[in-house]
């Protein structure tokens, strides 16, 4: 795509942000992204938001969040799937010819509302809601399918948790957490067989913003240096039914991965330097990593992934911000040396019904 990332901002992470309203989080993050890009709000012509009414506990979330996110008297629209979907729409808007410089903003303050209650209201009312479906149960069904059909073991899952937490310890933007022993993870409460509490990434509060520019804008402003080019976007959604095929197969994930690589002009996943995965639990992390069949040269979730911070709704956009920082050499202590091509992944829906990818390329790569 002829679309570039000019600036990024990640709100400081916390398990619960209680001293700021969501509107204040969105404002400060959007403001920081504009500063990072070296542009002002008056310079932008559009804003793309990603937010969930239910998680935000607001009847129409963007009524309150649009203006603080920079959209006052701007061309704004919102998606309600995930932060990474917002980036995808933002990229298409900036690439469509009429809009030149825009913000993408997403947020999550789910510490104020129980996610599992929201999950129950997401389920259709005839079959799934009466059985009490929520995220934990959907993830447990997925984990069991991975164990039975793909041979994922609880030991491998525990090791993955430890690995991610160890990586997060080197990430300056991560919440500090101790790395538990394998026995502690194995002894953690059983949530939904075989998913244990210790297998899940703790959900955190946070916000992410990004400034996007069309190629035309970049060429007209040679004094502004892009951080990355959006090399490709792809996404696909799977069926709603949590049947055996849906739970045990990763076809949508695998097909969409290949599609985004093609969009980015890459022949294989091994041509990437970094992948930041959106895995809400280590069963998903192990299964998705295995299915990618990436070689050792690809750093997968060097940030620590969702175990570094996990602002549930905008975790995919956080991954995109992390890979922009990687390909622009600004990731910090977990910088992957020479990272030039990177992939951000995001999910939404029960048991990863939708997979989204954004491929980023460093300038000069």
């Amino acid at each position: 795509m002829d679309v570039y990332v000019m600036g990024v901002a990640i709100h400081p992470a916390a398990d619960a942000i209680r001293d700021r309203r969501l509107e204040e989080m969105a404002y400060s993050t959007a403001r920081a992204a504009l500063d990072d890009a070296g542009v002002q709000r008056k310079d932008i012509d559009h804003v793309t938001l990603a937010g969930s009414d239910e998680i935000d506990a607001r009847g129409i979330s963007s009524m309150l969040l649009a203006a603080p996110s920079g959209a006052y008297l701007k061309d704004e629209m919102r998606v309600a799937d995930s932060g990474l979907t917002g980036l995808q729409l933002g990229a298409m808007r900036a690439g469509a010819g009429d809009l030149q410089l825009g913000l993408v903003v997403s947020w999550n303050q789910s510490s104020l509302g129980p996610l599992e209650d929201i999950a129950r209201m997401r389920a259709e009312p005839f079959y799934l809601r009466p059985v009490g479906l929520n995220f934990a149960i959907a993830d447990g069904l997925f984990a069991n399918a991975m164990a039975q059909h793909r041979g994922v073991t609880e030991a491998a899952v525990a090791e993955r948790v430890r690995m991610r937490l160890a990586a997060a310890a080197a990430n300056p933007r991560a919440i500090r957490r101790a790395v538990p022993g394998a026995a502690d993870i194995a002894g953690s409460p059983l949530i939904s067989y075989p998913l244990r509490a210790g297998h899940r990434a703790p959900v955190t509060d946070g916000a992410v913003a990004m400034v996007l520019a069309s190629g035309a804008w970049v060429r007209a402003h040679p004094d502004k240096r892009p951080l990355a080019r959006i090399a490709g976007i792809e996404s696909a959604i799977d069926r709603y039914q949590l049947n055996g095929e849906r739970l045990s197969g990763l076809k949508i994930f695998e097909d969409t991965l290949q599609a985004v690589l093609k969009r980015a002009g890459l022949g294989s996943v091994d041509e990437l330097d970094v992948i930041e995965l959106d895995a809400q639990n280590a069963w998903a992390d192990v299964a998705l990593v295995d299915s990618m069949k990436a070689g050792n040269s690809v750093a997968i979730s060097p940030s620590g992934g969702a175990w570094a911070q996990n602002p549930y709704f905008c975790n995919g956009l956080l991954n995109a911000a992390e890979v922009v920082l990687q390909v622009s050499g600004r990731a910090g202590t977990h910088q992957v040396p020479g990272a030039g091509r990177a992939l951000a992944h995001g999910t939404s829906g029960f048991a990863q019904q939708m997979h989204s990818f954004v491929a980023m390329e460093g300038i000069g790569s």
Binding site: E54, I60, L73
Partner: protein
């Protein structure tokens, strides 16, 4: 050079709209609209590359992931999928999001679909009270009726508009809707009937207010090459724009405010950009029909003025004179508009679908002769989200590529 692909509507579908659809689930309703749109576009589901779902607050129906529930029913499995939500403007924004999918060159053919079932909740206006800020405005007994009644009072104060002039808008809408097989409310009524209907919130009477509708709509958009292959007269999307304002109404009526709550002056900003893209300089001469978002009888005058069809404060006189009738200077809402049908999550999409049908010469008994350009608007939030979309019989500029 940044890519720009011309984009056109080649098929639309909508169910009949009515109070309830007890015999169908939400995804079944959405599926009905998709089947109609695909048939209208002469396409099979596998020829759709991506799906944009148009769904506003889910609280009316009580299923927060209704869009994802509808994936299998709308043949979206394995495809890119996103849900757009900008309150009442959702359908307008969803169509513009689909336009970006195609104009950017990312996808060739995109389906926009949505459904709504407002009457699933016993009191939609209680739900709508919850959209406001809980600290400043929620306790102020606000809902969409009382909120827009305040704006209407301000407009009446500025321009000496009468209740009868609003009633005349209702009479025209219900009369136009007689030609629309999908309309929820329709009929030959007179101004006295509107004036005699139950008082709800001054100056609104019951007939000044839209119904709560259930139903679904879908639109197929594609690039110029495919459009010319598949459709004898596509409706090209030649202008797309939107403007968002602050939620706070008080900030839109002070002497130093950037916009005026009564005038919907945000639409002036959006229309200017839309007209720039479409090459429109004199809308009254160049645009033959509009499908504007009018859930209340007072929504037509400020929109027509901000869209540049007439000067501020003059739309009421032109309306009285018949300028906005089917055979007037510009045919306003030949479908009957939102006053006759309001399934909130897809209302903006219905506006665009009806405008496209006018350009495609497929509007049946609603058809306005010789339509070259048609405008669709949508409005959402605390009348703070605005979209303007231009549908035209030909693209107004050449496509460009990188």
């Amino acid at each position: 050079m940044t890519q720009h692909h011309n984009v056109a509507v080649i098929g639309v579908g909508q169910t009949a709209f009515r109070s309830r659809y007890d015999e169908k689930t939400y995804p079944e309703l959405a599926q009905d609209a998709v089947a109609l749109a695909l048939a209208d576009a002469n396409l099979q589901p596998e020829q759709v590359d991506a799906v944009v779902f148009s769904m506003a607050p889910t609280t009316f129906m009580g299923v927060a992931d209704a869009d994802k529930w509808a994936v299998d029913y709308t043949w979206a499995r394995g495809k890119p999928f996103m849900r757009v939500h900008t309150g009442g403007a959702t359908g307008g924004s969803a169509l513009q999001a689909a336009h970006a999918h195609v104009a950017s060159g990312q996808y060739g053919t995109v389906l926009v679909v949505g459904a709504d079932r407002i009457t699933e909740t016993p009191d939609a206006q209680f739900v709508l009270n919850l959209i406001w800020d809980p600290f400043y405005e929620q306790d102020f007994a606000l809902n969409t009726v009382t909120m827009t009644a305040l704006a209407t009072q301000r407009y009446m104060h500025k321009y000496a508009t009468t209740e009868e002039q609003y009633a005349n808008v209702v009479v025209r809408a219900r009369r136009n809707a007689l030609n629309n097989p999908s309309a929820h409310l329709k009929g030959a009524i007179d101004i006295d009937a509107v004036m005699a209907s139950q008082r709800i919130s001054w100056p609104y009477k019951l007939f000044d207010i839209c119904p709560r509708s259930a139903g679904a709509a879908a639109v197929v958009v594609t690039n110029e090459t495919l459009a010319r292959e598949r459709c004898t007269r596509p409706a090209f999307i030649t202008g797309t724009s939107g403007v968002s304002n602050t939620v706070f109404m008080g900030d839109r009526m002070s002497p130093s405010a950037d916009t005026d709550f009564a005038d919907f002056s945000e639409l002036k900003i959006a229309a200017r950009e839309c007209y720039r893209q479409a090459g429109i300089t004199d809308p009254m001469r160049e645009v033959q029909t509009v499908e504007i978002y009018d859930p209340f009888s007072s929504f037509q005058f400020p929109q027509l003025e901000s869209l540049g069809f007439c000067a501020s404060g003059t739309a009421q006189r032109l309306s009285d004179e018949g300028a906005f009738d089917m055979n007037g200077q510009v045919a306003v809402n030949p479908s009957g508009g939102t006053l006759c049908t309001n399934p909130i999550g897809v209302t903006g999409l219905v506006r665009a679908a009806e405008a496209a049908r006018q350009v495609m010469n497929r509007a049946g008994a609603m058809q306005v002769p010789g339509v070259h350009n048609a405008i669709a608007t949508a409005i959402g939030g605390s009348t703070q989200f605005f979209t303007v979309t231009m549908l035209s019989d030909e693209p107004r500029r050449a496509a460009t590529s990188a």
